[in-house]
Symmetry: D2
Amino acid sequence: MDVGFIGLGSMGLPMAANLVKAGHHVTVWARSKDACAAAAAFGATVAANAKETFAGDAFISILSDDESVRKVVMESDMLPSGGTNTVHINMATVSAAFAREIAAHHAKLGIPYISAPVFGRSEAAAAGKLNILAAGDQKAFAKVQPLFDAMGQRTWNLGDDPGRANVVKIGGNFMLACALEAISEAVALNEAHGVKPADFIEIMTNTIFTAPSYKAYGEIIAHQRFEPASFKLTLGLKDVRLALAAGDSKNVALPFGSILRDNFLDALAHGDADKEWAAVSNVARRRAKLT
Amino acid sequence: MDVGFIGLGSMGLPMAANLVKAGHHVTVWARSKDACAAAAAFGATVAANAKETFAGDAFISILSDDESVRKVVMESDMLPSGGTNTVHINMATVSAAFAREIAAHHAKLGIPYISAPVFGRSEAAAAGKLNILAAGDQKAFAKVQPLFDAMGQRTWNLGDDPGRANVVKIGGNFMLACALEAISEAVALNEAHGVKPADFIEIMTNTIFTAPSYKAYGEIIAHQRFEPASFKLTLGLKDVRLALAAGDSKNVALPFGSILRDNFLDALAHGDADKEWAAVSNVARRRAKLT
Amino acid sequence: MDVGFIGLGSMGLPMAANLVKAGHHVTVWARSKDACAAAAAFGATVAANAKETFAGDAFISILSDDESVRKVVMESDMLPSGGTNTVHINMATVSAAFAREIAAHHAKLGIPYISAPVFGRSEAAAAGKLNILAAGDQKAFAKVQPLFDAMGQRTWNLGDDPGRANVVKIGGNFMLACALEAISEAVALNEAHGVKPADFIEIMTNTIFTAPSYKAYGEIIAHQRFEPASFKLTLGLKDVRLALAAGDSKNVALPFGSILRDNFLDALAHGDADKEWAAVSNVARRRAKLT
Amino acid sequence: MDVGFIGLGSMGLPMAANLVKAGHHVTVWARSKDACAAAAAFGATVAANAKETFAGDAFISILSDDESVRKVVMESDMLPSGGTNTVHINMATVSAAFAREIAAHHAKLGIPYISAPVFGRSEAAAAGKLNILAAGDQKAFAKVQPLFDAMGQRTWNLGDDPGRANVVKIGGNFMLACALEAISEAVALNEAHGVKPADFIEIMTNTIFTAPSYKAYGEIIAHQRFEPASFKLTLGLKDVRLALAAGDSKNVALPFGSILRDNFLDALAHGDADKEWAAVSNVARRRAKLT
């Protein structure tokens, strides 16, 4: 297939590479020359401007947040106005409300839209092992499934309403953030009682919390290895806010989400913005004067 | 070894049975004739009274809470006052402070003490697959290791201070309770946005939360299968309170713990006391008017 | 002085009337013909369009929120672009960040700006007894003081930074919302123990909480008189959100604010959006199953 | 009347003095010789032991907490067992549950019991201006009313159930603690936005929060005058715990109470135990890194 692609970050680049590898013709565009060069190196065509990427069978964007999608895609001149068969697949973690807004906006222009955020970090993207949460235009879905297959190990089709794919992604990240805070409080409690964080984590992750996410984050928290960050605390706060916003729009109180928000702000106030988001665990330790 | 055993509940019975199976001579006592008969059936000796069980190499108690240990063991006449080699192994989930109080109390009487709470439900107890968190008298430890080996798959020695074993257990149960609440809020959020709870849970437990505890509780929550209870909500609240009390004694704020306490009280107010503790998830749904 | 005025709601109308009464020449504009007629009746001049109100010595706006100010004032053609002596006095409860954004925006156009939100409801506005929290262009301040004197009993000058006036207002409303929740929890606690809400409130407001706000809201809560609303729950939530947003921008965690947000959402989910904001007290009662 | 009195602290001494001043014959006992001497100086009779104070028309105790009442009064030999007309008036802030336990205990011994905690500090006690919250044996009530009249400006009779008097007192102190936290968060928010705490407090206490409690605590918080303490933070935490315990026993979630508990623990961890309880405001400032 012919695919346009913008958002050549640590996720986007390996995803585009896998599309090329699977035999698709991928046209990319980015402000960064390095990113363009990297994409050219694995066989992508570099467009002269963003507008040129919106063509062919599908246009994939994986930008950083609602505002960048709004600016780069919706408020630019890149979208055609007279209807098209090019499916816009938005793989970024945006808000559920914004996903619905894009879909409505695109519907007026006659552009099929699919929200398709993913679970998995850059290693999973490189390995083509992403889990893709997708929802939106069901007619377009079958057509673009081969693209999902090239990037992920599994696609979860959540139906017509694109917001659903985003709220599942948001819910998952929310649960991860909750796990970080739960580990952090339990570690602080144990440390205050004389149990070494590493011992506590070793026991937990070998008994009742054997999930890889607990093992990975438990290690990070126990040994306070917050730099370099693979997912920054500011990004974590962005996701907590997406969860709270999704709750807001449907009157769902999220008391754990509120605690997370307060603690992430506390972490920012103490200079941990660019550390691994698990550094929110410093808050529990600091409040108990364990540091 | 010669072992006394009291606390023949759903955990204690299979644990005692495994001790017998491993060749130890086990003397039990219980108020319930049924429990005594069950123990006799697998080869335990039934004592005439509680006092007779405190003899031999070790005395194991697994009673329901601080108060029952205080009443049955410490304020009764069952303990010898002139020193003994019988090690008291307390396998119940009691507070860290109380574990230290027992140790101090026993030290005055010359009785070796080990706190040894476990991770694992009755099936794990029956299979001898418990994880045993143990701390206390290190001289007594080696002697009783064969007893732990008969009951568990692994013993985690946490050192001299018996309170540590209890705070690790308390920390683990606290993390489980946090997972329940995190799942509950995420499910409510998704349901409000049109994603079916079962779909959300299926995705989560096949992607970023593959731990058995998330699978098991996720299923229960998604399908609201809260009866019959394998671990009642009132017991869950007891454990949340143990975590808060452990925090209290060392000035460790546990904001997630506070939310849990509030929500468990809300669940009690709405008649869910005897349901599976995962029924705390009704709170999030009720607050969002999803029920 | 010559004053333009838009925002003829329950606050704006009596404020404009007091300006007229004090001898100022007031030019108003509103979409509602009734509002215009009411203003004409007390001696105001009705403009043909919004743009005409921005003239003379000062232009006062008291619109409902950030978005309406943005739309009606900033993104319309009503503002002159070549510099002016007309001071824009924004008396609405807007966010601190937005007040600063307006000031910066106006500075580029050469328009003096003052944020001047108020404490006091429509009765206080009618009586000219408002407390005016003002900050912004200090050169313009002295000139417009007579306008403040006509509308309020006292003006609090908070200096150059207009955002300060707004954050004081936001902080005050936040404290009121906290008082509502504190009363609500205490009343629920007492009711659960057999003390009638009205008795508890009578004691509190005659002993340690004699402030008029506690008396007024205590009565409303004790007798559940939530309709008709003088300040709707949705407006209360708007103000709680302004407090949280002000905290967000400076990394200030507001744990009470987070609880308020959760409880106001719970109240919305249960149909209390248009009731008096004190109806948030239903949440505490409902959670304790007192209703 | 003949009145026994124990608990000669900063509240008890002036209360006993007012009883003497009103013409009652007061017999006191205390461990502290200074306290006894002070009581003798204003005309009280000093008993040889605690038991002698339980005689005459009424026995008033104002001890520090549940445990001291349990130890000094209930588990000592001071109470008669064969019935008596001496009314036990317990003026301490004890838990609602414990008040009911005392009443039941005394009923078995034939001793009339009234719970009568007070609002007011030592100055109000000295001036005979306490507000007395009383509940319990209604037959005894009329008899002891003159004693209340000598100590307080008003007695609030809350009926038969003594726990009600205590829960009203607990509810009032809970609301005060909430006010402290609300002020603290609002002050931190304003300070982060450049508004001086003293300015914010001056505005609040001259506009929408004119209550004496807001004025007094607002000043303390704005100027961080936490020493010497007139009511220590540890006592504040005790009262927060009484509120949470009263909620526990009736399944009333108190989310503000949970936040208070967490923040008081944070304050203890940071060495503020013996400061004025308003020092809990350091928590909000510290979390926002304003200190």
